[in-house]
Amino acid sequence: MTPAAAALPQLPKAPTGIDGLDEITNGGLPLGRPTLICGSAGCGKTLMSVEFLVRGALEFDEPGVLMAFEETADELAANVTSLGFDLKQLVADKKLRLDHVHVDRSEIEETGEYDLEGLFIRLGYAIDSIGAKRVVLDTIESLFSGFSNQAVLRSEIRRLFRWLKEKGVTTVITAERGDGSLTRQGLEEYVSDCVILLDNRVVNQITTRRLRIVKYRGSTHGTNEYPYLITENGISVLPVTSLKLEHDVSNEVVSTGVPGLDEMFTRRGLYRGSSVLITGTAGTAKTTLAAAFAAEACRRGERSLYFAFEESPQQLLRNMDSVGLHLRPFVEQGLLHIEASRPTLNGLEQHLVTIHKLIAQLQPRTVIIDPISNLVSVGSLTEVRGMLTRLIDYLKVQGITALFTALVSGGRTNQEMTEEGVSSLVDTWIHVRDLEGIGERNRGVSILKARGMAHSNQVREFLVTSEGIRLLDVVIGPGGIVTGASRHTQYMQEQAAGLAAQQEIERRERELERKRRVLEATIANLRTEFESVEEELRRSNQEEEQRQHELTQGRRQIAAGVGQRPGGATPGSESSNS
């Protein structure tokens, strides 16, 4: 059963070529069947249907007929010129046929039985003349204002849709939104294949357009409300479902622009193409970190795009100059583009489109959005989250390294929670915070997560100096890592202890020296004493010798003087003889 079911042909579809719409509809509108686009005034119904025709003619080689009940051909052509659609050229190329159906109640009188065969013939002729595959009826409900016989109109409209289906043309019918029903005249009863509802909602004075597929017979489709925009290039539907998680990744590592911060990552930086979130309370140098990142990218010669939602470019440049980040040369070289706007200037989707457009135009390698938390003032949290999801996804697919800053409220409970809940979407999350001690505030930076690489677990104190951001060395005190004045105290204590130790060593050295000198003096004394004793002894020895000698001499003289004995006796023998 299953293989057979898989082999069943899918419902054939006519791609619209409209950004995002084909993704939500899984390929386009039902081929050869009517689709109803309904919505209130100013939703872009006509625009969407015209784009369907133009894209069909240009991209899919399917000529189209536009039967306009409200605007003349010239008006239509003029209205869509702003979107870059040249209807006149398409008409000249026989890819498009415009037919304005003028229905004016004041000129029409009913005098009996009638049908709308005239309209059928007209449409049939237009279709056949260019071999059209697509038809737009904008807005067929206008017929109800021209003719009073509702029964005839309804049966004729029903017949028209059946007839179009038989002709095999993919038809788009636009209709005005009615009270309590999708369309004023209940056209949804007749068009049962595909119904797309456009909505224009103003929340907190900001307009967001949304699209929803109410039904799509015979096909799966996205069921959510998708924001869409009318841009200079036509309609752009922004489906969250484009988050396919298929993007390529890079192993290249780029610096954060703060050497100390790089050191905190084992690979000394961030992966290229990853997304980084810097959260922190007010005044914790988030912007400075972001600017340092931008400056580093520019130093590598890469183009960067900086979206500032809080400061004007001039203010940002001046402020960064004060901390040694001279961005102005990069701006002048065209490496850095600062796009500043108020978050409330546009709806979220418009911001997203502006970002998309600038990225497409400038092809940056690095994008910074400072801060994303400001966007909450434009939309609800879920909307912001949805927008950021799409944005992060888009940047990743493009391989652009992205850095976002977010202000977190000072509440104690969720200090490390981003209200937008984007933390799960980013790869690296750096948190800067106030380390508030007794009478002082210090700034600390820590890495909460870094996908794909190990990182330091320390909260590193940093200073914003006139030479940029400087991470201070870790100082470990008795109670852990210390910062600020405690760091200073600790430092001084350590210095004092070091000094004392040094002095102790010096004292011991001196002691030793003294001892040596005493010892040497003693040795010298002893030697002197010895010398005097030696001299004494030597002298007495000499005197003794002298005396002995003189004695001997005397004896001899005596012996010689008393009587000279023959043979000469020795004094010894002589004395023993005597």
Partner: protein
């Protein structure tokens, strides 16, 4: 019984174009009714054309025809589109600026 004749520079006083779409009952009724009106009220004063859209489809767009049958009154006065098979004789006559003839058998009161 009519207003004094206004001599037209070109053509007849009345110029009527009837657009029909093929050979349908309402087309036949419209042709019959129109011919009767012309004979009874506008003999010699009308330039009548009957256009079959199924043979000339391009004419529908040119003349802004939506419904069929449609009688387009080009002259005199403002252009008027008379939609339907013209069976409402009194209304058709009023729209064409003609006074109903008491002997007209198609006048239904």
């Amino acid at each position: 019984m009519e207003a004094p004749e206004q001599p037209e520079a070109a053509g007849a006083e009345y110029e009527l174009h009837l657009y029909i779409a093929g050979n349908t009952p309402s087309a036949a009724a419209a042709v019959r009714n129109l011919q009767d009106i012309c004979e009874r009220y506008l003999a010699g004063r009308v330039e009548l054309r009957i256009i079959d859209l199924s043979a000339q489809p391009e004419a529908a767009g040119e003349e802004q025809i939506v419904a069929s049958p449609t009688l387009v009154k080009k002259r005199p006065g403002l252009t008027r589109f008379l939609v339907g098979d013209l069976s409402d004789r009194r209304r058709v006559l009023a729209l064409l600026g003609l006074t109903p003839d008491a002997h007209d058998p198609y006048l239904h009161d």
